[in-house]
């Protein structure tokens, strides 16, 4: 079962996806500033875990309870809450919502952990596909070096340590991120991602992104907020 296509909400959803360290959060921040400074009503939503998820993941790790399926479901609970109480209401009331990571993050991570793509797409089928999904494509080696140079300590799940890929955190991280990258590449055609070359200078990427948004979305209707 496929994720349903865009339902007719007056708002607009723009998402960014890509590996850790691909620079997507920086780019989304710049999009937000650009829109705000020009007087558009725009809100940011992030793929952050709530206390509930953090508690459950912590307990699951301590007691060795988490499986690919429950790892996926715990995050789906969290996303569903955010989707139904934040993202969907923003879209229904005619705002621009910017999502720093969206359901594709779950599709990539959980598929690497062994969940079937069909099961995952069904699980998240309550959520609409964004109007534009920017995929920040980076040779995974470059993304890894960016992360390793910025953050010396890599978190357990970010390194995919639960997958027993490699006993060394950095090596595990390299293998894991490479697999995630392969999943993103596979989804790019399936969901029509707009690919951005993340090796380009920041301002060059931003210029490209702003052009694409201007061409694909009629921004004039978002100047006054609610269009119900």
């Amino acid at each position: 079962m496929d994720v349903k296509n865009k339902r007719h909400f007056p708002g607009v959803l723009i998402a960014v996806e890509g590996l850790d360290g691909s620079g997507k959060s920086t780019q989304l921040y710049l999009v937000k500033r650009w829109l705000e400074i020009n007087g558009y009503h725009v809100y940011l939503t992030e793929w952050n875990s709530s206390d509930m998820v953090r508690q459950a993941i912590k307990r699951g790790k301590k007691k060795n309870l988490l499986t690919p399926t429950t790892f996926s479901l715990v995050h789906a609970v969290d996303f569903s809450d955010r989707y139904h109480r934040q993202i969907q209401p923003l879209l229904k009331t005619g705002f621009i919502a910017l999502a720093d990571r969206y359901i594709f993050t779950a599709f990539a991570r959980d598929a690497v952990r062994g969940c079937s793509p069909a099961w995952l797409r069904n699980l998240y089928s309550f959520a609409i596909v964004p109007d534009i999904t920017f995929y920040f494509k980076l040779p995974s080696g470059a993304a890894i070096e960016r992360i390793l140079s910025n953050r010396p300590k890599i978190k357990y799940y970010e390194a995919g340590m639960d997958l027993n890929l490699h006993p060394e955190v950095y090596d595990s991280f390299r293998i894991y991120q490479t697999r995630i990258g392969a999943e993103y590449d596979r989804m790019s055609a399936e969901f029509g991602f707009t690919e951005i070359d993340a090796t380009q200078p920041i301002e060059v990427q931003q210029e490209t992104i702003r052009k694409i948004i201007t061409n694909r979305i009629d921004l004039s209707s978002f100047k006054n907020g609610v269009v119900l």
Partner: protein, 229 residues
Amino acid sequence: MKQFFIEPLPKCDVSNLSGKLIVLEGSDGSGRTTQISRVKAWLESKGYAVVNCELARSQLVGPELEIARQGNILGPTTLSLFYATDFMDQFENVIIPALRAGFIVLADRYFYTLMARDLVRGADPNWVQNIYGVTLIPDLVFYLNVSPRRLIERRWQKAAAMDYWESGMDMGISRDWAISFLTYQQLLRKEFLNLQKQYGFAVINGNKSVATITHDIVSQIEPLLTTPA
């Protein structure tokens, strides 16, 4: 060999699940818990080792689920996924290991209850079926069919006041608890009878005496015990 409903559970070997999975479904007040303990005693008297499990008791999210139930702040889809998480945690960490060790798992409800609750709240049947598609088809499922009239009477025997969720108060059927309870329980019963047709539950007349019901259940379990896994 045991079968999954739609697709295999990731990272799970089912080739050596020698135990049996028996499910008892029925509303609160249907006499389910009483029957579970009687059937368990019967199985143990015959020398079978039994493991019990029930909904909303997972180690993973059990405590958070209880808080969510008290607060009533989650939407229906989110709550439904929360219950699915709880169910799958128990499925993978209680039911599967017990079946592997050759136990008889006596489940005090399975995902059918969760499914019925979701469906009466308007969930897409395909969505729910696919989520639980990675679970095992039980060896036997009993549904204790009891009239709403009787349920409400047993409800009074058990507790002094009505329960928000059991009365379906979140559905906005009526602001009157009694009317909401009766309507909600009727909707659930109807949904269960639909699920019965789809999944082939053994329907047990729950209006009979306790001993008769136990007899009806164990007489159907008995032939299963001699069939190989």
